[in-house]
Structure formats: C-alpha cells, structure tokens
Homo-oligomer: 260 residues x 2
C-alpha cells in the first residue's frame, strides 16, 4: 500500500513542513520505500518530481524538503509496490492534459482485476492499477464533456459516478487536481486538517519538528492538508467519509463535497 | 530565442558535463534567463524538471548538475521568452502521452502567426508557439496512426511532412523523443557530436571544465550530443542539414535521417 499527501490553499504556500513528516514514512518511520513523487501546480503550469529511490534517500526529496516551492495545489505520494514493478513509470503522481489543463492523480489502495477497456484518449504508460484508474477517470470525463471543462456542478456527478464504479474493484483512496479544483476520494482511509487563523504550532508525528504557523502566515491564509493518516499529533484531523468525492477549494472542503 | 541540448546514447549515461556548459548559457555566458527544463527518459518512465528561474540561479538546475541521472534519451532547453510570458506552463520541454508512451518536445525558434486549429487530441496548456507546434505534431501522428505506434519507416514520412509544413511559419529547430526514438529537426541551427571509442578529453566553451571520457566509459559506449551551438572547443561538431528530420539511435544518426 501507499500513502497520500495533498495540500489545497487560498494563497500559494510551501509544503516543506508536511513533506518533512510525510517523507520520513518513505523508509524511516514506515515502509514505503518503492519510489515517491510530488506535483506542484503553479498557475497553469505543473512541476512534477518523481524518484524510484526511497523518499528518505532521494536527493530530489531532499531538494523538495528544503526548496520552498509555493503552490495552491500539491499532490504527493510514497509507494510500497503491490501492482507493477519498482520503476519510474509506476511512480505517482501521474499527469495528463485534458481540456488544455494538466491533471494530476495519486492513488492509495489496490484494485485487483481492474482492467478497463476504455482507452479512447488516455492510455497507461506503466503497469499499475492506479494509472489505469486515472486514465479511465479522464477518458470518462472527456467523453462526457468533449469540448471544454464544464462547471463544477456538471463535472462533479460524472466524477462521483465513475469513482464509485472503480471503487467496487477494491480500495480507491485518491487525490486529483487540475490546479483549479482539488478532489479527494476516501475509500478506506483519508483525513484532513484545515489550518487558519488563529494559527498555532503544529508538531510532526514522524519527526521531532514543530512549526509555529502564526509566525509564517497572515490572518487571511487558509490551508487544507489531506493525508492517509494524520501527520501531526497536536491538531484535530477529520476523517473523510468513505464513498464520497470531496472538493477542496481555497483551503477548505466545499459544502461537504456536493460540488456547490 | 532559446537553446536546445539533447543526448542520445546506446547505454544510460549522465549528462552532467554537457549540462554544466549548457546551463551556463542560462544567464552567465548567454542571455537565456527566462526558465529552463530537462527531461530524462528512464525506460518507459520520464522525469521532467522545469523552473522559471534562470538555469544558473535555479536550485533544481543545481541538483541536475550534480545528481548523475542516467538516461539514453535526454532533452533540455533554456528559454529566452519571445512568445508567451515567463511562466512554468511555458517552460520546455513539454510532455504528452501518445500510444501509451510519453513524448517530450523542446523547440528553438519563432513561429509567428502559427495558430493551428487541429486540437483533436492534444491542446496547449501555455501560450507558446512551441507547445502549439508540439500538439500539432502529436495530433497529426495520432490521426495517421490511431491504434498504435507504427514502425519507424511508417512514422517518419508523416513526421517529416508535418514538420516541413510547420517550418514554413518560421524557425523550427526541435528535439523530440518518446524514449525509443530520438528526432532532431534543424531549421537554421542545430549540430551534434558523436563520442565513441577511442574516447578523448573534452573541454567546455562556457566553463573551464575538462572531462576525460576515457576514464568514465567502456569501449562499447556511444553518445550523441545535439545542441544549438557547439558546447566544446576541442571536438568536431557536425551541423545538421536544414529541412531534414534526423533520427538518432544508440548514439548516432540513423542513415542520415531517412528512417531506415
């Protein structure tokens, strides 16, 4: 199995603190040693770092830990290989272009016997069940809306329906973003915390590191951190209800994921 | 205008030496300060580093200079913005998936008044003429061969023809690879050197650095370096004939680009 980390904010924010604790699970405090990746949206652009090395041993992870890239949408993943060999093409997040925007996806869970035939527009490059699921999500969205990205209220039910269909094959916790909307689906395990004023200090579970966000933020900042399991031991993390695609916008869940 | 750097090899090789000289042109020995990028194929996987900072000031370029990522297909680019603002979405190389493989593209030159309407499968995310050209190349290849990648002898004439059509709009020097085949097109300025046994020492033009490849290679290694202008001052660089798509394979041009 793997672990997910996502961040959605109302102003571009760096993820150095959360990534520090998350990356420790890539071989130090947990067993996810079979590669890792992180995607940062910056406007329309998207920066994607991938490595087959364990996050704790990767020079690229070291760069990400110390280079404060500011972004409103971040998706990260550490991998423990189940389906697919340990190889760069099997590292999450995966990225494709749809409607002239980049879409980024990372998955936690297994989807045994999941082998969709719909490859109308997007095909997997690697061998994971995860990339197959991502391609099916995008193929479905594109077939439903061939011309352009619809408003969220139209996109959401199509995404929720295909997500529910895929989730029947196994465990399908995922994070998905196009740099405008941020989607999180919990099948078994995914939780989030919203940090906003009054900011306090947060202490990592996986590393003995504390950050006082009050010193680093303005009163208007709001940040949602979404993760497979809580990253801090002195904040209240909210479990995401299984079965529902939750939409995050400007650092908080939108109307309990009803896409309103 | 921009500058291109490509590498095609018969065994995975790091590009640290050539990138050292190339990156110096990103703000030190030349004026290409508006972002840079580099793509490494590793098997089916592809690692893409992009930054809007000048290559000489980028912590990510610093990582690439010192982290020996080994690859048989590398494409790099330093940008001096002409069309499109300085933004991550306008940094080359661009990447898309076609036939279940990643395709990577970088361009040097301007294509004024180039605004193709064919957006059947691929659409640009940013505002550059270059990304529009890349999308048209892929749309054309995919429409010609909808099911799967054809053999090179079938793919080559389609690529050559659409390249010639696009080149009529302006200057169209480019590098293109899917990790299996490496294509280079010269419109005005592109040259290459093949390094093979007996290896000698090479000295960079842009930095006072010499590497003795004899110490680093085996007699079977062969590496082609393709660049806008020569990177070394003690090797013989061959200009690529304008108008022709040259295919590199295993570190050398294939039959003068006839795709045989």
């Amino acid at each position: 199995m793997c672990q997910l980390l996502g961040m959605n904010c109302n102003v571009p924010t760096d993820i150095c603190f959360s990534f520090e604790g998350f990356a420790a699970r890539g071989g130090k405090t947990d067993e996810h040693q079979d590669g890792w990746g992180i995607a940062f949206f910056e406007g329309l652009g998207c920066r994607l770092f991938l490595d087959v090395k364990a996050a704790i041993a990767s020079p690229i992870a070291d760069l990400v830990r110390h280079y404060p890239i500011k972004s409103k949408h971040v998706i990260a993943h550490i991998r423990k290989a189940t389906f697919g060999v340990v190889a760069l093409e099997n590292c999450h997040p995966f990225r494709r272009e749809l409607w002239g925007r980049y879409w980024v996806f990372a998955h936690n869970g297994d989807l045994p016997d999941f082998d969709p035939t719909n490859q109308t527009y997007y095909r997997p490059v690697g061998q994971t069940d995860s990339e197959r699921a991502f391609c099916l999500l995008l193929n479905t969205l594109r077939q439903a809306f061939p011309a352009a990205k619809p408003v969220l209220a139209e996109l959401y039910p199509v995404l929720q329906q295909i997500t529910t269909e895929i989730a029947q094959f196994g465990t399908f916790n995922y994070l998905l973003s196009d740099g405008e909307h941020f989607f999180a689906h919990c099948s078994t395990k995914l939780c989030y915390v919203v940090r906003q004023a009054p900011f306090a200090a947060a202490h990592l579970i996986d590393e003995d590191v504390t950050v006082d966000f009050q010193e680093l933020t303005t009163p208007c900042d709001r940040v949602a951190i979404i993760a497979t399991t809580p990253l801090t031991d002195n904040e209240t993390w909210t479990p995401i209800p299984p079965g529902q695609v939750v939409v995050f916008q400007d650092g908080q869940p939108l109307g309990e994921g009803k896409g309103q």
